[in-house]
């Protein structure tokens, strides 16, 4: 266990030394400061009378609940898209560094199984991202709830969705990184899958236009590849306190992530470094 904690700690230290991660933390802090000090809500008898942002007062056109949900939704959406893309950009080189000659052989010479080494690294990356997302989304939720009195515990589930989908996409980095040891290729494939998911999200609109064969291929991709873009809808529903209509995009994405980690770990276990 002590060996596992060593690689976990090393990974976290390496991530926190990345400028992108420090930048994400700084931006998250700015958002929290803005919500805490720049956004003032005048609540009269449980209703929103006016909103003051950076001292500019506006008469409220929407309900207090709508405003809280809108702010939480924007922050969760930004954390999902911008946060995950930047977090992948920051963490992908770390995996290539892990399997670099001179580094991986030193790590493998320690008395721990390969799966533990890989597990410690992945846990370190997940842990750091969880910390950042809890800091941003948890902080925004707490501040908004205290300020408005509108408590939306469902929003907290968005934290796990953001971290979960980051973890799914990091699985691609692990798979491609173990196979090719190339940061560039890992990021190209990962971002490529995110781009493809934007197209796959239009499954209901696109498939009626396709021939039977093409439709089968499209459905095959839809059910196999991560539905990154569609999961945004779930995040948005949670942030708005609405019931989630369809959990399938999340489930299929998590299954894809599990498969990516499984194959990546299999290659990692078998290959020579």
């Amino acid at each position: 266990m002590i060996s596992f904690s060593g690689i976990l700690l090393l990974t976290m230290r390496e991530l926190w030394a990345k400028k992108v991660v420090i930048g994400l933390f700084a931006v998250s802090s700015l958002v929290l400061i803005s919500v805490a000090f720049a956004l003032n809500l005048d609540v009269v008898d449980g209703s929103l009378a006016s909103v003051r942002l950076f001292g500019q007062s506006e008469e409220a056109q929407i309900s207090l609940e709508q405003l809280v949900f809108a702010i939480e939704s924007v922050v969760a959406g930004a954390a999902y898209w911008i946060g995950i893309l930047l977090a992948l950009f920051a963490s992908a080189p770390l995996f290539t560094t892990l399997v670099d000659e001179g580094h991986i052989d030193l790590l493998l010479s320690k008395p721990m199984a390969r799966w533990k080494l890989l597990g410690g690294h992945v846990a370190g990356v997940w842990g750091t991202m969880l910390g950042l997302v809890v800091y941003l989304l948890g902080g925004v939720w707490l501040l908004m709830s205290i300020k408005s009195g509108v408590w939306n515990p469902q929003f907290l589930l968005a934290i796990f969705l953001v971290v979960g989908l980051f973890a799914v996409m990091y699985g691609v980095v692990v798979l491609i990184g173990t196979w090719t040891e190339s940061t560039a290729l890992s990021l190209i494939v990962t971002y490529g899958l995110i781009f493809v998911s934007l197209v796959l999200a239009g499954v209901n609109q696109i498939t009626p236009q396709l021939s039977t064969g093409s439709r089968a291929v499209f459905y095959g991709l839809y059910h196999t590849l991560p539905n990154f873009a569609e999961v945004t809808t779930i995040v948005s529903s949670l942030a708005r306190g609405k019931a989630v209509a369809d959990w399938y995009p999340l489930v299929s994405s998590l299954l894809f992530g599990g498969a990516a980690y499984g194959i990546g770990a299999w290659i990692f276990q078998r290959r020579d470094f």
Binding site: I2, L10, R13, A17, G102, D105, L106, S109, D272
Partner: protein, 331 residues
């Protein structure tokens, strides 16, 4: 297993395969068998591409063997338990530059399974031993190659290993640092640690290694004690008072003046070549009868570098090299 060799390798082979369409294979190790007794400093030598790094990587389970067996103190090298009492310094190691020397040792020590209390005790001692005590709080990115190398050695020693693998430990280290590392290795040997050294600096290897093996084209072509391997068969170095020319002539080429001078004034150095022990005694009897006074008689040695060049320059790849198989480079 208390009596097991520190390193034992039996019929080890490794074939690297590459290419997706046109499969190419390279046989890096071809039936290597060798054994390193505990408490020795062992040198693995060989020209570039001989299979030295592959051999070390298989012992550390960084590379998987194609066939054969490898064990550390009797434990198969593929199990994590085999690496519990092991320290390793890779050739081109790179520690995260943002960490201080002390932080590096804490994190890598933790990965080696060293408890917090033991790390707190050993880290200052080790930093002092490798001459980095005053730089313990400095970030590694500012370290010279030699300093990084010394930090790497401290990292390898943190779990008080019984077996230490060092890959080019004196690479980039200045002469004073090299001597410090040499002294450290001898100190470790005296404490019972087995050191497995992979180095191109044959003069360094010769100074510290009691046993060596030479790999060529993936096969062990020679292995044995450094003393035996570097001894020139049946050639003796004799230091004596000047031998009259007629005596030299009488010995018919079995005794000749050496190129190197004797250390002491008034003495000369000669080399005697004989068929057997009786032949050597015959030469010595003849010298005594000629009134020559003998200062010393000892087997002639060549440097490990000369021996190595002779071996790798002339050796045909054998079917298999047996255990402790010194051979005369002249023979």
């Amino acid at each position: 297993m208390p009596d097991a060799p520190a390193v034992s390798v039996t019929n080890l082979t490794k074939t690297y395969r590459s290419g997706l369409v046109r499969r190419e294979s390279v046989r890096a190790l071809d039936g290597v068998t060798l054994s390193v007794p505990p408490g020795t400093i062992f040198g693995l030598l060989g020209p570039n591409g001989a299979g030295k790094s592959t051999m070390v990587k298989i012992l550390l389970d960084v590379v998987h063997a194609s066939s054969g067996e490898a064990a550390l103190f009797g434990v198969p090298s593929t199990t994590p338990a085999a690496r519990e009492r092991l320290g390793y310094l890779p050739e081109d190691h790179e520690f995260p530059g943002f960490l201080t020397a002390e932080q590096v040792l804490h994190i890598y020590g933790r990965m080696a399974g060293v408890s917090s209390a033991d790390r707190a005790e050993r880290i200052p001692e080790l930093l002092d031993r490798v001459g980095l005590a005053e730089r313990s709080g400095s970030k590694v990115r500012g370290f010279s190659k030699g300093m990084a190398q010394r930090l790497g050695i401290a990292q390898a020693l943190l779990n008080e290993p019984d077996l230490l693998f060092l890959d080019e430990p004196t690479d980039g280290v200045d002469p004073v640092g090299r001597r410090d590392i040499r002294d450290l290795l001898l100190w470790l040997r005296d404490r019972g640690t087995t050191v497995f050294l992979n180095s191109h600096l044959l003069s360094e290897v010769e100074k510290v290694c009691s046993r060596v093996a030479i790999l060529q084209d993936g096969t062990v072509v020679r292995q044995g004690t450094t003393e035996k391997l570097t001894a020139v068969e049946r050639v003796y170095d004799i230091v004596a008072t000047p031998i009259p020319d007629e005596t030299l002539h009488e010995l018919d080429g079995r005794l000749r003046r050496a190129d190197e001078p004797a250390a002491e004034e008034g003495l000369h150095r000669y080399h005697a070549q004989t068929e057997d022990r009786a032949g050597l005694n015959g030469i010595l009897d003849r010298l005594r009868s000629a009134g020559v006074e003998l200062e010393s008689v000892q087997p002639l040695r060549q440097t490990l570098e000369d021996y190595f060049i002779d071996v790798v320059g002339t050796t045909e790849k054998p079917e298999a090299a047996g255990e402790s198989e010194p051979a005369s480079p002249n023979g």
